[in-house]
């Protein structure tokens, strides 16, 4: 058995039966990283020695009969989630040597369940991008086609899962940054409801949109990770104090009679024909499982991208002000204070980050605030209402995750607007704060994965996971692996 191929649930079973050991499992994953990461480049930092130490500890605890969901299981963490004592760079030169003195809430919760950290995965700098090409530390490749990008911004996490360089990973999703790379890399990616998973320790890009979530090899593993990372956190006032159900408990229930909303605005010209075909086929499959497709409308969809890029950049312009060369991270000396600020930020930030800081600063400026920021907030309310209205008549909504399969590296780097449009199907969900998953639903003739997005009501990840699981179990798509 190739141990690195395992997902969380399978590994747990094998570990608990004593068929495999945490050290063997961790070594297998580290060897896999050694073997393929030179090509895939999922990781910014591989915490190999640390992982082996953790594995040795886990081995003892396991023998002592300790029961922890993730005891001895190697997971990768996106490099914008703070891990105490392990470098957290956000793929930015400005944080190139930043070692957090504190642990994020999600990794603390994973620690409490005994996980092993393989390392930190690559991303678009500060999670700003859709291809991971905005990383200051190299390009991550799509494991299905090295000419192509893995998506972004959680491209490193998605590629690492697809290339079996970890059992699963955490990413973050502000406008599609978990779901879009999951779709491009043929893995499962879930963006939880805003407020479901604590953000404490997630380096902020756009605070009202950011959400941490799992990228996994199958739906069940996402449910397992959601059980661990969800729930109120006293360190995050925006985390919701609502009960967390056992997300695995609904898995396996049938979806007979479930109403599946199909929004007209997501099946439009410009969407790749193979993607359209795969998604339509997926809907038929769900229908054959007893679900009832219902045509719906999300009329303000066309405003989503503009709304998003005003709100996200506004918040980002403020969130990134702390990288000023004074306290931590990069400092480039200058003639005076202002000169130091300017030189530091000039050298520390990449082009896309600068572009977004400038856009956001502009939107918030006196005289422009009402026309941009305030207007965008109003548009956001309309988008929220679109979803509320739709969910009066359906249980979940299905759409393509992305309009096209993974594109070629360099194809859109000179045209930010084209790049922004690769997120048109995921962005509205962040604005609405709803949960959504991307599951593999087919392959193009070029053997590139296609993702199906299933969107749920607020705090109803359980229905999303149940639907995704039913679909996954009725198809073979999740079993395909890239040749490396």
């Amino acid at each position: 058995m190739e141990l690195y191929r395992l997902g969380i649930d399978e590994a747990r079973t094998a570990l608990d039966k004593g068929e495999i050991s945490p050290v063997d499992l961790t070594k297998a994953v580290l060897d896999r990283i050694e073997a393929v990461d030179e090509k895939v480049r999922s990781y910014v930092t591989v915490a190999g020695e640390r992982a082996l130490r953790q594995a040795a500890d886990a081995e003892i605890l396991l023998k002592e009969g300790k029961k922890q969901t993730l005891l001895g299981i190697p997971l990768a963490i996106k490099d914008n989630i703070c891990t105490k004592g392990v470098k957290t760079t956000c793929s930015s030169k400005i944080l190139e040597n930043f070692v957090p003195p504190y642990e994020s809430t999600v990794t603390k919760r994973l620690n409490d369940q005994g996980y092993i950290l393989t390392g930190k995965t690559n991303l678009d700098e500060f999670a700003m991008g859709s291809s991971t090409e905005n990383s200051a530390f190299g390009l991550t490749k799509n494991p299905w086609d090295f000419e192509r990008i893995p998506g972004g911004s959680s491209g490193g996490s998605a590629a690492a899962v697809a290339a079996d360089e970890c059992m699963a990973a955490l990413g973050s999703d502000t406008g599609g940054s978990i779901r879009q790379p999951a779709a491009f890399c043929g893995v499962v990616g879930l963006k939880p409801t805003y407020g479901r998973v604590p953000r404490y320790g997630l380096v902020a890009f756009a605070s009202s949109l950011d959400q941490i979530g799992p990228l996994t090899k199958n739906v069940k593993d996402s449910a397992v990770l959601m059980n661990i990372i969800s729930g109120h956190d006293i360190y995050d006032s925006t985390s919701a104090d609502v009960p967390v159900p056992d997300f695995t408990s609904l898995l396996g229930q049938d979806i007979k009679g479930m109403k599946i909303g199909v929004p007209a605005e997501y099946f439009i010209e410009g969407v790749d024909s193979e993607v359209q075909a795969s998604v339509k086929e997926a809907i038929q499959k769900m229908e054959s499982l007893g679900a009832v497709p219902v045509e719906i409308s999300l009329p303000h969809t066309e405003y989503a991208t503009a709304t998003y890029y005003i709100l996200a950049t506004s918040e980002a312009s403020s969130n990134l002000a702390r990288y000023d060369g004074v306290k931590y991270g990069l400092r480039v000396e200058g003639d005076d204070l202002i000169d130091m600020y300017m030189k530091t930020r000039e050298a520390g930030f990449g082009a896309e980050v600068k572009r977004r800081i400038i856009l956001g600063t502009y939107s918030l400026s006196s005289g422009y605030y009402d026309a941009y920021y305030k207007k965008a907030q109003q548009a956001r309310t309309l988008i929220v209402q679109d979803f509320e209205k739709a969910f009066e008549s359906v249980d979940v909504i299905v759409t393509p995750t992305t309009p096209t399969p993974a594109f070629r590296a360099g194809e859109k780097t000179d045209d930010p607007l084209q790049m922004y449009l690769s997120d048109i199907f995921t962005i509205s969900v962040n604005l609405a704060g709803a949960p959504a998953i991307s599951v593999p639903c087919g392959y193009t003739s070029n053997n590139l994965p296609v993702g199906l997005q299933i969107i749920g009501k607020h705090f109803d990840e359980a229905s999303v996971l149940k639907t995704a699981y039913a679909f996954e179990q009725a198809t073979e798509w999740h079993k395909r692996k890239p040749e490396l």
């Binding site: 944080l95 902020a204 002000a321």
Partner: protein
């Protein structure tokens, strides 16, 4: 042309919470630099603020004590600007929806009652402190103060003179100290005051261009700085100059205000609602609970002191300016002290001694009981009013009871008439010349005879008896 000044004040008051506004770090003053910090208050990547509920309560308490409207919904906003003492590159403050809306406080200036409007009171976090090396170019940042909760009280431009401004700040200081939300310490900066000052011709309704005056860290400097600034602006207008909208710093050494930055260089703070904090939703029942817990405020207490204790207004003003002083006074009266006498002793000797030692009444060695004990010795004629001053100071230094001090020092008043008469006779027999002149019409010499007797008795002779005896014998 006659000009009048129009002044609005912004008071920043550090709240007396144990911990900072968004994290659990201590707010204690004076610790070593950067020892009271954590990832949250130094603005590490990924951290989030969590609101200190006590801080909200303190601001609402202040609003309720200053007649403010308390809206049920309030929000926090980010004020964006770069400065080394501001670790996140923005200050979490309030902009469109402050915790307290319009209110007012009453002040009395030279006998006139004035109502000064409040625009708003909001809550925000304090910044850290930049420290510049004495030698060399280095600068340092101390973030102990970063994240200490700060309340900003903004007045309407209702103030016309520097004296009114001082009374207004004094009144607010008394209120925040009464209700226990701020220590009011201006030296340490826990109460700071900025002023927006403009002048206009008397009778004019339009406001003139204003200057913002900062760095006035005592009542005396507020008065001096505002007087200077008002004169400066009037002179400029009389000279045909234009007032520039700018920030000016009070320079204590030079006694002038100096330009710091003009409006053109001023920041665009790009306020927007902070997405990391949920809006504050207050319940009316909670607000009512806070209102119910508020102690008697200075104005009410002052009125009560005048009517219940029959005190002059000035006495009531002084006694109610500090809760601790008012409490001290009332305890002494409760123990049987005469209200006027107690008030006089507090105003006089007590204030003088405390001032000399830079101490507060709550730290005074003389308890209300000790004073009342001494007052009864005066009433009984055991000591004279004059001796009492000596006794009072001894009590202050030692904390001993008056009776004990009188006993130890032999200060009991001499009221035995025959004993005094013997001394009077002795003095008179030694002063034939003076008697001659007195009888010849030099009435001032009475003082000489009294003085001699007092000298002989070390001040202990009952002055009334001495006078009576002398008058009789010199007829």
């Amino acid at each position: 042309m006659q000009y009048e000044a129009v002044i609005g004040l912004e008071i920043h008051a550090q709240l007396l919470t144990e911990t900072k506004i968004f994290c659990g770090c201590s707010t204690k003053f004076g610790s070593d630099p950067n020892t009271q910090t954590c990832p949250v208050c130094i603005g590490m990547p990924g951290v989030l603020p969590v609101m200190n509920r006590k801080a909200i309560e303190y601001v609402v308490r202040t609003g309720l004590s200053t007649n403010c409207e308390i809206p049920l919904l309030s929000r926090f906003a980010r004020k964006n600007y770069f400065y080394p003492d501001l670790p996140k590159g923005y200050q979490i403050s309030q902009f469109e929806m402050p915790l307290c809306g319009e209110g007012f406080v009453d002040i009395i200036v030279e006998g006139d009652h004035r109502k000064i409007g409040l625009t708003r009171i909001h809550l925000e976090e304090d910044a850290g402190k930049n420290i510049h090396a004495e030698h060399g170019n280095e600068s340092f940042v101390d973030l102990n103060r970063a994240g200490v909760p700060l309340m900003e009280i903004v007045s309407e431009p209702d103030i016309r003179t520097s004296k009114e401004a001082v009374e207004f700040v004094k009144k607010l200081r008394a209120i925040v100290r009464y209700i226990g939300v701020c220590d009011g310490n201006m030296d340490q900066g826990s109460l700071r005051c900025d002023a927006n000052v403009s002048v206009r011709p008397v009778g004019e309704k339009e406001l003139g261009t204003k200057a913002e005056i900062k760095n006035m860290n005592s009542f005396r400097f507020i008065e001096k700085a505002l007087d200077y600034e008002i004169k400066r602006q009037i002179k400029a207008l009389r000279d045909g100059e234009r007032i520039i909208q700018e920030t000016r710093l009070w320079n204590t050494d030079k006694g002038i205000t100096e330009s710091m930055r003009s409006k053109e260089e001023a920041h665009d703070y790009r306020y927007f609602p902070d997405p990391d904090l949920m809006p504050i939703e207050l319940e009316q029942s909670w607000i009512d609970g806070v209102r119910g817990g508020i102690v008697e405020l200075p104005d009410t207490k002052r009125e009560r002191f005048i009517s219940d204790y029959n005190l002059p207004e000035q006495d009531a003003d002084l006694l109610t300016s500090e809760q601790s002083m008012a409490d001290w006074f009332e305890q002494a009266v409760d123990l049987g002290g005469d209200s006027r006498s107690v008030s006089n002793w507090i105003k006089g000797e007590m204030s003088r001694l405390l001032n000399d030692d830079n101490k507060l009444i709550e730290d005074c060695t003389i308890t209300p009981g000790l004073l009342v004990g001494m007052l009864s010795l005066i009433d009984k004629g055991t000591i004279s009013g004059k001796i009492a001053k000596t006794v009072f100071e001894k009590m202050y230094r030692t904390g001993k009871e008056a009776a004990v001090i009188v006993e130890e020092k032999g200060l009991v008043q001499m009221s035995d008439e025959s004993g005094i008469e013997a001394i009077v006779d002795d003095i008179l027999s030694k002063s034939p010349g003076e008697i001659e002149r007195f009888k010849g019409g030099d009435a001032k010499l009475m003082g000489f005879f009294v003085g001699q007797v007092m000298k002989e008795t070390k001040g202990k002779a009952n002055p009334k008896i001495v006078n009576e005896l002398l008058r009789k014998k010199l007829k």
